[in-house]
């Protein structure tokens, strides 16, 4: 029927159309015979993609999409964890601007491909940052550190390596956890199980449940641990609890995979926020660590992070690194240079590093003060419930305990944008906007169940 090269799939669809037309209309057979699929017709039935459905927006990043569409002047974006100043503006740290100026002024700089494992100096400095400059693991060359695309990329590359080379392909993730975790691990080829973590009754840690669940995990299983400032709950184990977790995990040979996205951002101290990781490394055991500089250096869009794998021996670390390279090369070949160069410039320079620690503390302090203000505002309104978890939780996020219906209400009536699990980003709050949020929470709690 048709001219020029249409395959059978197209013919089938045309035949169906033909039958439909000839049965439903009094069309002239001559006209029907002249129906042919024009190559330029935008007929969805002819598309090879016709079976592709529209995916929903990412639940976290989609919040910002919805926020951007809202014309209300009262709108508040408490969705994605990006720091905002008291004026509600994004912040580029002074040390970052200084480092960037240095980079641009340096005429010897080139844009040649980095090695597959990334910028060597960045890798060394990142390992020192998380493990401590005097870490025996580093001294003994037992750590391989590979530059990756922020936290997500580090998690994905580490998980892909494990799916290929580790005999245990199950990873235990805390309940709840960052929404992207299960997808990262599943696509990497691991199967995902969860361990109890958050206790809604206390809005704190379900420590017993955690110990029971990890205790019944198969020997050698991988366990995802948030190094500090658990996302989304803000609930962290105490140091004593960390020690017990470590003992349990080592007794079962469970492999720790740390997600460290907030070092320095949680308490304001880089060393304090690394204690959980360092505790595990100190016992000589192996672990994986995904580091992100998105929040603590405000380098969100530059996608800078590192995957460190602490191994038993230097020889193993060398072999592991060679295999990690095989994961990276077919994914993106080698990592982007800009963000890593900024980080290296800051970490290697004592003055810039010190300046950074001050800026970091200022950000952490502002968030802590927002916690206090929100807590006070809810108490002042007599909002029903115990809101002390707001000041007990740590890091960028508060797990409010609000349910999806209450969240939807707050979005609709108060233009508050947040994830439906009740998580709010304290970093998105200011003294000016706390009252509006408190009003919204108060209304949600009293009017919606």
């Amino acid at each position: 029927m048709s001219s020029g090269g249409h395959g059978s799939a197209t013919d089938r669809r045309l035949n169906a159309l033909f039958r439909h037309l000839s049965s439903s209309a009094r069309m002239d057979p001559q006209q029907l015979n002249s129906i042919a699929a024009s190559p330029t017709s935008a007929n969805q039935n002819d598309s090879v993609f016709s079976h592709v459905v529209r995916a929903p927006e990412d639940p976290i990043l989609g919040v910002t999409v919805a926020y951007n569409k809202d014309p209300s002047p009262l709108k508040l974006n408490l969705g994605v964890g990006a720091y905002r100043t008291e004026e509600g503006k994004p912040l580029v740290l002074n040390v970052v601007r200084k480092a960037e100026q240095q980079l641009v002024n340096d005429r010897s700089r080139v844009k040649e491909y980095l090695p597959i494992v990334g910028l060597a100096e960045f890798n060394k400095l990142s390992a020192k940052l998380i493990l401590g400059a005097d870490s025996p693991a580093i001294r003994e060359n037992r750590v391989t550190t590979v530059q990756c695309l922020s936290g997500t990329g580090s998690l994905r590359v580490g998980a892909e390596f494990l799916a290929r080379h580790y005999h245990q392909r199950t990873i235990y993730i805390p309940q709840p956890t960052w929404g992207n975790h299960p997808k990262v691990f599943t696509l990497a080829g691991l199967s995902v199980k969860s361990y109890r973590y958050y206790d809604p009754a206390t809005r704190g840690l379900n420590f017993q449940g955690l110990l029971e669940d990890l205790g019944s995990a198969p020997a050698g299983a991988i366990v995802l641990l948030h190094a500090c400032a658990h996302n989304p709950t803000g609930v962290d184990p105490t140091l004593q609890q960390w020690e017990r977790i470590r003992q349990l995990m080592r007794s079962k040979g469970l492999l720790p995979f740390f997600d460290s996205a907030y070092q320095g951002f949680a308490s304001g101290s880089l060393d304090s926020d690394a204690q959980s990781v360092r505790m595990f490394v100190a016992d000589g055991g192996e672990c994986f660590i995904a580091q992100s500089y998105a929040k603590n250096l405000g380098l969100y869009g530059e996608r800078v992070g590192a995957l460190s794998i602490v191994c038993k021996t230097a020889d193993v670390a060398g072999r592991v690194e060679s295999q990690v390279k095989l994961v990276i090369r077919p994914m993106y070949s080698n990592p982007p240079i800009h963000g890593a160069s900024i980080v290296a410039a800051i970490l290697r320079d004592r003055d810039l590093f010190n300046e950074w620690t001050f800026e970091l503390k200022a950000m952490a302090d502002r968030i802590i003060s927002m916690r206090q203000k929100l807590f006070d505002a809810l108490r002042a309104r007599g909002t029903p419930g115990d809101w002390s978890h707001i000041i007990k939780q740590i890091g960028m996020f508060t797990f409010t305990g609000l349910n999806p219906q209450q969240v939807a209400f707050m979005t609709k009536d108060y233009h508050i944008y947040m994830t439906s699990d009740g998580r709010i980003s304290m970093a998105g709050l200011s003294s000016k906007t706390v009252p509006h949020l408190a009003d919204a929470i108060h209304a949600a709690v009293t009017l919606v169940s």
Partner: protein, 459 residues
């Protein structure tokens, strides 16, 4: 803490025996006991009891992977101390002084960006909107109907590799069982990308060693023989590694057979502007297919043409038959990117958007690109002249002039390529590919000597 454990371990002979068993490879992984409470708890799991202090790595069985065949060449080059050494491995442009080159327009763009003091917020998963707009326009032409009708899903990707990987992931998920046909030979990393994405692939004939040209009949036959609905990976211009491109007439025939078999064209465009010096000419193959109303995939890279290698900037474009489809495909590409790296890096995207979006910078870019492509053409000529003058065998070296782009497929085999490296300190890939971008006029004679020796004296 560690010293406590060690002293406990040495006090229990049974513990060290079990360690020995473990080392004999009886078990992949047992369990470890580790206690700082001052006693050892040994757990038996049927075969092995373990003491933590001296236990073996979980990754003891991991073998050392070989170095990357392309990127590994540069590493070997760096280690070579001979002053005559020449790096013709990776395709990165070098000046006549054999120095890396940062384009002037790139420096200008970066200065502008710094002056503006832009923020570093997360990009959307699909990347920088301004970048996505200009990259599609650059590829298809701003007036192209595919753009006017909004039928293209464009997603910023991590240069060419990352864009190809996104597409591979899309194919794996939405076209299960569909094969990708890749040229024989092709860029070494193509098969790794499809392997890791679990997309089956097979080869179509491409390079004809007898003519050092295109095996067109073989190519058409193999594309025809593939199961309908296969993805056909095509190099938009400047085929890597051979430098051999189809003629416009041959492109038409390739399009014919692809349409006939309901295959899906999948372009890898890593050298737009770099091959002929003209951005539009180098996009003509892609535009030919788009004009026919075909649905197609196109991966783009700005590594070479804007010298942005390390910034990892590229894009995946999917041309669909309707704008609604394009929106749906875009949403699914996002869903694949999010668990890989969440959102792409901003710096390189801003540079491209600034250069391509600013008429003055865009013109300057075109001039710099012509200069780079021109230098490579000059080097080709000089190499050809040197070979013709020095080689008395009468071998026809004119393929060097006919090939296009950064690379030349010399026809040297692995042993001959090894000779190039071992005897002459010329670093290249084992498939006989040399990067002319790494060659200076000054070194052409030396290279000619090396090639002639390797070709005639080694088998």
């Amino acid at each position: 803490m560690a010293s406590t454990m060690l002293s406990i371990a040495s006090a229990t002979p049974s513990a060290s025996l079990s360690m020995h068993e473990k080392l004999k490879g009886k078990v992949k992984l047992g369990s470890t006991t580790n206690s700082t409470a001052g006693f050892i708890k040994t757990k038996s799991f049927g075969r092995v009891s373990m003491v933590a202090a001296v236990n073996v790595s979980r990754f003891e069985g991991v073998t050392m992977a070989p170095p990357d065949p392309i990127l590994g060449v540069s590493e070997a080059f760096k280690a070579d101390t001979d002053e005559k050494k020449l790096n013709l491995g990776v395709g990165a442009y070098r000046t006549e002084e054999l120095q890396p080159y940062v384009l002037d327009v790139v420096k200008k763009a970066e200065n502008l960006m710094l002056e503006r003091g832009e923020n570093k917020e997360y990009l959307p998963i699909e990347g920088l909107a301004a970048f996505n707009k200009v990259t599609a326009e650059l590829l298809f032409g701003a007036d192209n109907s595919v753009l006017k009708e909004q039928r293209v899903a464009t997603v910023q990707g991590l240069s060419g590799t990352g864009s190809l990987r996104l597409a591979a992931a899309l194919i794996e998920r939405y076209f299960p069982g569909a094969k990708v046909l890749i040229s024989s030979p092709t860029w070494g990393n193509h098969k790794n990308i499809f392997n890791d994405a679990r997309v089956p692939w097979s080869e179509y004939r491409y390079y004809d060693p007898k003519t050092v040209g295109l095996d067109f009949e073989g190519m058409i036959a193999d594309i025809k023989a593939a199961p309908g609905g296969s993805f056909i990976l095509l190099h938009g211009c400047a085929h890597n590694p051979t430098g051999i491109d189809p003629t416009p007439e041959q492109w038409e025939k390739i399009a014919d057979v692809i349409q006939e078999k309901n295959h899906i064209p999948f372009f890898d465009v890593a050298y737009q502007g770099f091959a002929s010096g003209s951005l539009d000419n180098d996009a003509s193959s892609v535009r030919l297919f788009a004009t026919r109303g075909m649905e197609l995939l196109v991966a783009q890279s700005y590594s070479k043409n804007l010298g942005l290698y390390a910034e990892r900037i590229g894009a995946m474009n999917v041309v669909c038959s309707s704008s609604d489809l394009a929106a749906r495909v875009k949403s699914q590409l996002k869903r694949l990117a999010r668990p890989m790296y969440s959102n792409p890096p901003v710096h390189g995207a801003r540079i491209v958007a600034n250069v391509v979006g600013n008429p003055a910078l865009f013109d300057e870019w075109k001039a710099e690109m012509e200069m780079m492509a021109g230098r490579i053409k000059n080097v080709r000529q000089k190499l050809f002249d040197s070979l013709s003058a020095k080689d008395k065998s009468g071998k026809d070296w004119s393929f060097i002039l006919r090939q296009i782009g950064m690379f030349s497929f010399t026809g040297l085999n692995k042993a001959q390529s090894d000779n190039m490296t071992n005897k002459w300190h010329v670093y290249m890939t084992k498939d006989g590919r040399i990067s002319l971008a790494g060659l200076s006029l000054a070194k052409c004679e030396y290279l000619a000597d090396a090639i002639i020796d390797s070709y005639h004296n080694v088998s």
